[in-house]
């Protein structure tokens, strides 16, 4: 059952080949069997899942079908879920139980899906390897010595290892696409504002966007249909109409123009380059025209990102003060000591590093040189994308500069870690949608193809992704998991 897509599972459930309860138990058993090693879940919501599945089964018995009736899903532990722990991968929120559902969780529950558990992640989504999690690193199912990417590493591993047919994620600088690439699955970051951020713990509010991980482009479209749309509770939620992504994804593929930024290929690893060119060749032979484009300043994306994201993070995370909720330090005598000890003991190294950088960039005398400068660079990068989209429909490149790196390899080198997001951050700065789909392997480790679209062009992205998956079978490759 775990190798079947959402499309196939929905059909099986509707035809009563197995019940939602059987399907849920199958995945819960797989999690129990494999996740002690993989560590992709922080919380397994078994009781909740069984109850949800029984309820859905009684609906199916009466032929009442919802869009995702009985489909199990893993929720990134950044999405608040009522009465369930939401840790955000941090000691700070180790015992935080949310009193409400985030909009993403609510919409997916209303659609009939079953929550298997909350997945592991870099602390407060700050990281590219899942190693900053307070709950331990997550293993890449393609090689247990390797990172799954981050920050949504647990979600990516759970889908790649067949512990869940789909999972939610969030992407601030590549946190969905980079792990999707490193784990050999599909992951989409929609346009900023497409999916509500309500109840999604904030990292960098002008960059954060929710999205999903699945095995196929079609499955991605199915879930995106459910989570997209305006939300009164998110002040930056978009009112742009939501098209039927599923229909758009399956529609006969029209010929399109693809742009490849030469800056994405300069100095790129040879193996990654040849796998990428092979993918482009397949598209060129099948209804796509390819042209080189110029995104001259895209490489400054990481620099601008390292100002904008920490600045917003330092502001967002000031709410964790040991007073209202979250970790509170013992043995304090003054209020200042309470703040400082709670924050110093509750946050991990990377989170503190980013709070410090952000505080510095926003502090008196430095604001113009850092924050305003970064916002100007952001404007330049966005304009370059806008210019490019006058000439091409979609922009393609590798998702990450290389395949997964080893656990521990970059933990003491923050710059090397940040540069693993070099191809992904620009889409967040510009607020445009982008997706990663499997395009091949380097020494048995997966590589992702990034498809970037203009604002609200998710349909075009999904259509091309589906087209590519009809021509290749990279998305059908599965890692071999050993018993235990």
């Amino acid at each position: 059952m775990h190798e079947r897509t959402i499309t196939e599972l929905s059909k099986d459930l509707a035809e009563k080949k197995f019940s939602s309860l059987e399907l849920t138990e199958h995945f819960i058993n797989r999690i129990k069997k494999y996740d002690t090693k993989l560590n992709s879940f922080i919380t397994i919501t078994e009781e909740h899942a069984i109850n949800q599945a029984k309820k859905i089964d009684s609906e199916i018995a009466k032929n009442k079908l919802r869009p995702l009736s009985g489909i199990p899903i893993a929720q990134k532990d950044i999405f608040c879920m009522k009465n369930i722990k939401t840790t955000c991968g941090s000691k700070m929120l180790e015992n935080f139980i949310s009193p409400y559902d985030s909009t993403v969780v609510k919409k997916l529950n209303d659609a009939g899906s079953i929550v298997l558990g909350k997945t592991n992640m870099d602390e407060f989504a700050m990281g590219s390897s899942n190693e900053t999690s307070y709950f331990g690193s997550v293993k890449n199912p393609w090689g247990f010595d390797y990172v799954p990417g981050g920050s949504s590493g647990g979600s990516a591993t759970s889908v790649a290892a067949g512990l869940a047919p789909c999972a939610t994620g969030t992407d601030t600088g590549g946190s969905i696409r980079q792990p999707a690439s490193l784990c050999g699955i599909c992951g989409i970051k929609p346009t900023y504002g497409r999916v509500s951020r309500f109840g999604m713990i904030a990292f960098a509010s002008s960059l954060d966007q929710a999205g999903i991980f699945t095995q196929t482009a079609e499955d991605c479209a199915i879930i995106l249909n459910q989570i997209s749309g305006f939300d009164e509770k998110d002040s930056t939620s978009s009112k742009v109409d939501v098209p039927d992504y599923h229909a758009a994804c399956l529609k006969k593929f029209d010929s399109i123009k693809i742009g490849i930024p030469r800056q994405f290929l300069d100095g790129l690893d040879d193996s990654v380059k040849s796998v990428f060119y092979e993918a482009i060749k397949i598209l060129e032979e099948n209804n796509c025209t390819v042209k080189e484009i110029n995104l001259k300043n895209s490489k400054l994306g990481v620099s601008a990102y390292q100002v904008v994201a920490p600045a917003e993070c330092s502001s967002n995370l000031s709410r964790y003060d040991g007073i209202r909720f979250g970790f509170r330090a013992d043995d304090v005598t003054t209020i200042d000591e309470l703040y400082k000890k709670s924050r110093s003991q509750g946050f991990g190294r990377e989170v503190k590093r980013r709070i410090l950088i952000g505080t510095y960039a926003l502090s008196a005398g430095y604001y113009d040189a850092y924050y305003l400068k970064a916002q100007r660079i952001r404007q330049i990068i966005t304009s370059e994308f806008a210019e490019a989209f006058k000439e091409v429909d979609l922009i393609l490149g590798p998702t990450a500069p290389d395949s997964a790196f080893k656990i521990g390899e970059k933990t003491n080198d923050p710059i090397a870690m940040y540069l693993s997001d070099i191809f992904t951050v620009s889409a967040n700065l510009a607020g445009i949608p982008a997706m990663s789909i499997p395009m091949g392997f380097k020494k048995n480790m997966p590589l992702g193809l990034q498809i970037i679209g203009n604002h609200f062009d998710e349909s075009k992205i999904l259509s091309l992704a589906n087209h590519f998956q009809k021509l290749t079978d990279w998305h059908k490759k599965k890692p071999v998991l050993n018993e235990e």
């Binding site: 400054l300 390292q306 100002v307 110093s344 410090l356 510095y360 100007r376």
Partner: protein
């Protein structure tokens, strides 16, 4: 970035830094700032700073209470 600045910033951010961590933090933050300073390779004169990806204006709503009081629910142990 020197140690004195780090101590001042940490105080502003309400984060305690242990003396044993100070060297590592100073060195990693200096490296991050060097990466950030690559922005200076491009002139941004006359460019409007971009605060928001969709250039939206903040949506306003009526000042009405929409949620019921959940105090008991939120305070339960």
């Amino acid at each position: 970035m020197d140690k004195k600045t780090i101590i001042k910033i940490a105080d502003l951010a309400k984060i305690d830094i242990d003396d044993s961590e100070l060297d590592e933090i100073t060195s990693s933050l200096s490296k991050i700032l060097a990466l950030v300073n690559e922005m200076d390779s491009v002139s941004t004169e006359g460019i409007t700073p971009m605060a928001h990806p969709l250039n939206m204006t903040q949506r306003l709503r009526k000042d009405e209470v929409l949620e019921k009081n959940q105090r008991d629910e939120l305070q339960k142990k």
